[in-house]
């Protein structure tokens, strides 16, 4: 005999207890600390900070621990926490020209002032599993050089001097904030860049890759990729001047894109721009490619109908917290809607069978 489904509340509580137990895993194995995650899972922490839109390595590490390593879940925890934080004000724009670079490379010039600095990169490692690491992860200290004191100039600045690269329009306008205002399209480039920097790494990568494979190809070179720390300064009205309130690590990518000119623009190089929290270079390069693809209208290019050129498509589908929530909501009960569909399909079938019979007679 059917008994109405009751006890949802207890089932939820029990599920949560089980989840907590699973998160901890075998109690005979030492528990992960936040410090360990922050120091040894740094690229995961960076991704959570970037897509969570909150620069706090400790909170990101906590979120990763709580989420059992599911980074999208961790990003969700950070986003939900972020909305509860009061906003004290806005900082000055960071100056990436003043960055203390740990990595700085250019694919367009063999050498340039500031030099090529490989930094801590996987690029030239052979992807062979290091079984020694399973037993012992200790490493000898890496060789050190004296840090560069003077600022490292941007590579695109050199092209700019010759007028070979399109100049970006300077603006002191406060950029829009899609976390505080509903997104309205068409958006500005600033809005697009905000959406891309917090967009899902996989989605932005896929979009960027599609441009390389010919869906609105834009001939990108990595003009410069730099990673390092920059000072964050804030104007304090009571003091009347700006003070440094901290440092953040960011990855900046400027692509140089070949451009043979359009109806409105002369032949010159154009750029795409990526800026992401932490060492997140795959994301920063992807962002720059997609940024460039989305600029077709401004540069007078043709609309190829490619997904990466479609601002509405990119902006509405780049956010993994929106996407995963809506995707996973189909796990929720839908039996009321399903019931109405059942009745509709049964009725349509009855009528279709009736019509067939009539035709046979």
């Amino acid at each position: 005999m059917y008994v109405a489904v009751k006890g949802g509340e207890r089932a939820i509580e029990n599920a949560h207890s089980w989840l907590a137990e699973e998160r901890r895993g075998d109690p005979a194995v030492a528990e992960l600390t936040i410090d360990q995650i922050r120091e040894q899972m740094k690229l995961a922490v960076n991704r959570v900070m970037a897509e969570g839109s909150l620069y706090d390595p400790d909170l990101a590490a906590l979120a990763i621990k709580q989420a059992r390593g599911d980074l999208i879940e961790a990003i969700f925890l950070i986003r939900a926490y972020r909305t509860t934080l009061p906003r004290f004000g806005a900082t000055r724009a960071i100056d990436t020209g003043d960055m203390a670079c740990i990595r700085r490379i250019s694919a367009t010039f063999k050498d340039a002032p500031g030099g090529q600095v490989l930094g801590p990169t996987f690029d030239y490692t052979h992807r062979l599993l290091d079984f020694k690491l399973a037993a012992d992860g200790e490493v000898p200290p890496a060789p050190q050089a004296a840090p560069r004191q003077e600022p490292t100039p941007h590579i695109t600045g050199f092209l700019n001097r010759e007028g070979l690269i399109q100049a970006e329009a300077a603006s002191d306008e406060t950029p829009p904030d899609l976390t505080r205002e509903p997104m309205e399209l068409p958006g500005s480039r600033a809005l697009r860049l905000q959406a891309l920097t917090r967009g899902d790494e996989g989605f932005v990568l896929g979009m960027a890759y599609s441009t390389q494979r010919g869906y609105a190809r834009n001939h990108a070179f990595v003009g410069e990729l730099r990673i390092g720390t920059v000072a964050v300064e804030m104007d304090i009205p009571e003091l009347g001047f700006a003070i440094e309130i901290g440092e953040i690590e960011v990855t900046e990518c400027e692509t140089v894109n070949q451009f043979t000119g359009s109806k409105t623009e002369p032949p010159q190089f154009t750029r795409g721009y990526g800026l992401v929290f932490g060492q997140t270079e795959r994301k920063a390069i992807s962002m720059a490619l997609v940024d460039r693809a989305l600029r077709w209208r401004e540069l007078g290019e043709d609309d190829m109908g490619a997904p990466a050129q479609d601002e509405e498509f990119v902006l509405y589908h780049s956010d993994n917290i929106q996407a995963t929530g809506f995707l996973e909501h189909i796990k929720l009960p839908h039996y009321v809607d399903f019931q109405s569909e059942l009745e509709l399909v049964r009725r349509l079938r009855r009528e279709a069978e009736g019509a067939q019979q009539e035709a046979a007679e």
């Binding site: 109405a4 205002e181 509903p182 009960p333 839908h334 009321v336 009745e343």
Partner: protein
């Protein structure tokens, strides 16, 4: 009490949401963009409804939360607990006792009153979305009252199937102006929207839209003169309470394909059984 502000959201955010609600009430059926916040539950799980409820609740309110018509479904439980924790408001399962009702996919069977607010959770607020994927285009269509595409779709349904093949989220027209998505309620519930005494508020969190129906608003389900709209439900009475007028869920009861029909509105069913109504299989249920 908790460390969070009353009903979780800060007062500035609630004010922003209330403005959107008031604008929605002033332009019935129009989708008002609002700066939806990231809530501690996932998008698609009622964040729009939760934000609207949070902005609507006062400490004196009594809240009821239903999903699929039932108070005890997992997500309804989760949202009710969220407000118990963050707002400390009283909650109830009795429709008549609630001042604010948040719902997903149903309108309660019992008629609502002027003292009540019904908050719908909305996944896709745009009734034209599956005909035109671009938001820029659909906003233009609403502005121009250009609903030809919708009528063509309904007409094609009839041409192909002999009837309009939409069973839930059946589009409506509000006060002769805006075509509106009623949220994914079964079309059985559509007539209840029209002339309802309670305020009806719709929140779509992920899509950042709020819309509203003030009390006694005319809401018409789209149809054609020769193919009039028809509210439908399973052709059976409730097996527990015998109700003939309520929307029914079909429940599979054994491996042999046996099934029974029960009220989707659990409170309605409970109240009827308490009043002595008994369906075909109701007796043993009461004994259990």
């Amino acid at each position: 009490m908790s460390d969070y502000n009353f009903a979780y959201l800060d007062e500035q955010t609630k004010r922003m949401i209330r403005r959107a609600i008031l604008k929605g009430l002033a332009i019935p059926g129009y989708q008002v963009p609002f700066a939806s916040r990231e809530m501690p539950m996932p998008y698609g799980w009622g964040t729009g409804g939760v934000q609207v409820s949070a902005a609507t609740l006062t400490p004196e309110d009594r809240l009821k939360v239903i999903d699929q018509g039932a108070d005890d479904t997992t997500n309804a439980v989760s949202i009710r607990k969220f407000f118990e924790r963050t707002a400390g408001v009283e909650t109830t399962e009795e429709t008549a006792q609630a001042s604010v009702i948040q719902t997903r996919h149903r309108i309660p069977e019992e008629p609502l009153t002027e003292d009540q607010v019904l908050v719908y959770q909305v996944p896709i607020p745009e009734p034209l979305r599956f005909l035109e994927p671009s938001e820029i285009e659909t906003r233009k269509m609403h502005a121009l009252e250009d609903y030809g595409l919708m009528h063509v779709k309904l007409y094609e349904d009839i041409a192909r199937h002999g009837q309009i093949a939409t069973a839930y989220a059946y589009p409506v027209k509000v006060e002769g102006r805006y075509v509106m998505d009623p949220s994914p309620i079964p079309k059985f519930d559509n007539p209840k929207m029209s002339g309802m005494a309670a305020i009806q508020l719709f929140g779509a969190g992920r899509e950042q839209r709020i819309y509203a129906l003030p009390p006694y608003t005319q809401v018409v389900s789209l149809d054609f003169r020769d193919y009039p709209f028809e509210a439908s439900k399973a052709d059976a009475p409730c097996d527990l309470c015998g109700a003939e007028d309520s929307y029914l869920d079909e429940v599979i009861v054994d491996d042999a394909g046996g099934r029974m029909f029960v009220c989707s509105d659990t409170d309605y069913c409970r109240a009827r059984r308490a009043a002595g109504h008994v369906g075909a299989q109701g007796k043993t249920e009461d004994a259990a």
